[in-house]
């Protein structure tokens, strides 16, 4: 049975204690905390925490505690640097830090040259003001009443018995146009969904959320004029029941541009 502790025993105990401390206390203190601790600026609670962390991170504690060497080193002292060695270091420093020197010199001439970051900040502030004004204007417009354009009432393609699908010709007169999608002769579904598709590319341009049918059995769809260039489009109504959906009717529209005055 062991009765005394040798160096490796102490080392094992030390490692275990450090591991315990680090797991309990977490990351080492920041340099700012250490310097504040050194100046006596921390509260008692924080100072105690820094002390515990220094014990848990002895390498850092050693760096913290090591005093500066005196200024009277002489030839033969450990790590003494002769003048020629310092001269070579100085030459290396000059070569490596010309850009730093130029920047610092530029900083000293502050006011004589255009400063980059202040300029960027000024531009950013101007852009922020412009966008803020635009946002405020849009918000104000949204709160004002406005009159919707005359509605185009759509009936399903093939509903009139003709071979050719009827095309509702629409010439947008304002910022938007209004389409009334009528559900005629369709089965009752829990909800409906409407899609807008380009007839040329068959690309889906827009899809509504599930819509509950209204008492008039129709949906009003307002479309910004700028959203649809001249061309042929289809509105497709789907009936939704549970997870299933069924295409119930299609409405073809022919969007035309208003002739120039």
């Amino acid at each position: 049975m062991k009765t005394t502790m040798n160096r490796s025993d102490w080392q094992a105990v030390r490692d275990a204690l450090i591991a315990d401390d680090r797991a309990r206390l977490g990351e080492p203190p920041s340099v700012d905390e250490l310097l504040a601790y050194e100046r006596g600026e921390l509260s008692n609670e924080n100072a105690e925490r820094v002390q515990q962390l220094l014990v848990a991170y002895p390498e850092l504690a050693r760096a913290y505690a090591t005093p500066f060497p005196s200024d009277d080193a002489e030839t033969g002292d450990p790590d003494y640097l002769a003048g020629d060695v310092i001269g070579r270091q100085w030459d290396a420093f000059r070569a490596a830090n010309r850009s730093v020197a130029a920047n610092v010199a530029g900083g000293a001439a502050k006011g004589r040259v255009l400063q980059f970051w202040p300029s960027v900040a000024a531009i950013a502030a101007s852009v922020a003001i412009v966008f803020g004004a635009m946002l405020w204007q849009a918000h104000s417009n949204a709160l004002r009443p406005h009159v919707l354009p005359e509605a185009a009432i759509l009936t399903p393609d093939g509903g009139r018995g003709g071979a050719e699908p009827p095309q509702a010709a629409i010439t947008p007169a304002g910022d938007s146009f209004l389409l009334v999608v009528s559900l005629i002769g369709t089965a009752d579904y829990e909800t409906y969904r409407i899609e807008l598709v380009s007839s040329q590319s068959h690309k889906r341009l827009w899809s509504s959320e599930p819509l509950r049918v209204t008492s008039s059995n129709s949906f009003n769809v307002e479309i910004p004029s700028s959203a649809l260039p001249a061309g042929t489009y289809q509105l497709i109504a789907y009936g939704l029941r549970g997870n299933a959906q069924e295409q119930v009717s299609t409405y073809t529209i022919d969007v035309r541009r208003r002739p120039a005055p």
């Binding site: 025993d9 105990v13 204690l17 310097l35 002390q51 390498e59 505690a65 500066f68 130029a102």
Partner: protein, 180 residues
Amino acid sequence: MIVDGGGPYDERFEAIYRKCYGRVYRYFRANRIADDEAHDLSQDTFKRLYERMDQIRNDDPWPFVAAIAKTILLNRFRARTTQKRSATMVEIDDPELLFAEPAAPEERDYADRQAEEAVWERVRRAVASLPSGQRESLRLWIEGFQYNEITKILGISMDAVKSRLRDAKRYLREQLGEKP
């Protein structure tokens, strides 16, 4: 002068560099930093000093230089400690590790190992149960810190360090029933 710089502090800076470089270098070396890295850290110190020359208010620039050097040193140790804690984990099945596997140490007697681990655990518990002031002083003493360094780290007097260590050792002897 630093050529191309044309800075307003160049002559003074060169004088400070030549006067303080050796002292800064010896400070890093005193912290067990290798020669090459000690020069690198010294150069970093003076680079930062040059960027802050306009902030030196006193005739004696050394406190300013020393504060920069200390910050650089603490940052260096702190970064290393943090790196160690977040070191990349290696798969134990890594074939390179298998091929580089060192020879197994000579197997010791199981009873000896058990006894040794029991002692470690007793000491560990005894140290952990010390009052915080005594525990911290003892831990630093175990790390090999001198009394004057412990006073600096814990912000207490030399007498306080001595009495805490004396009490801690006495407590451990009582707890362990032996000389630790």
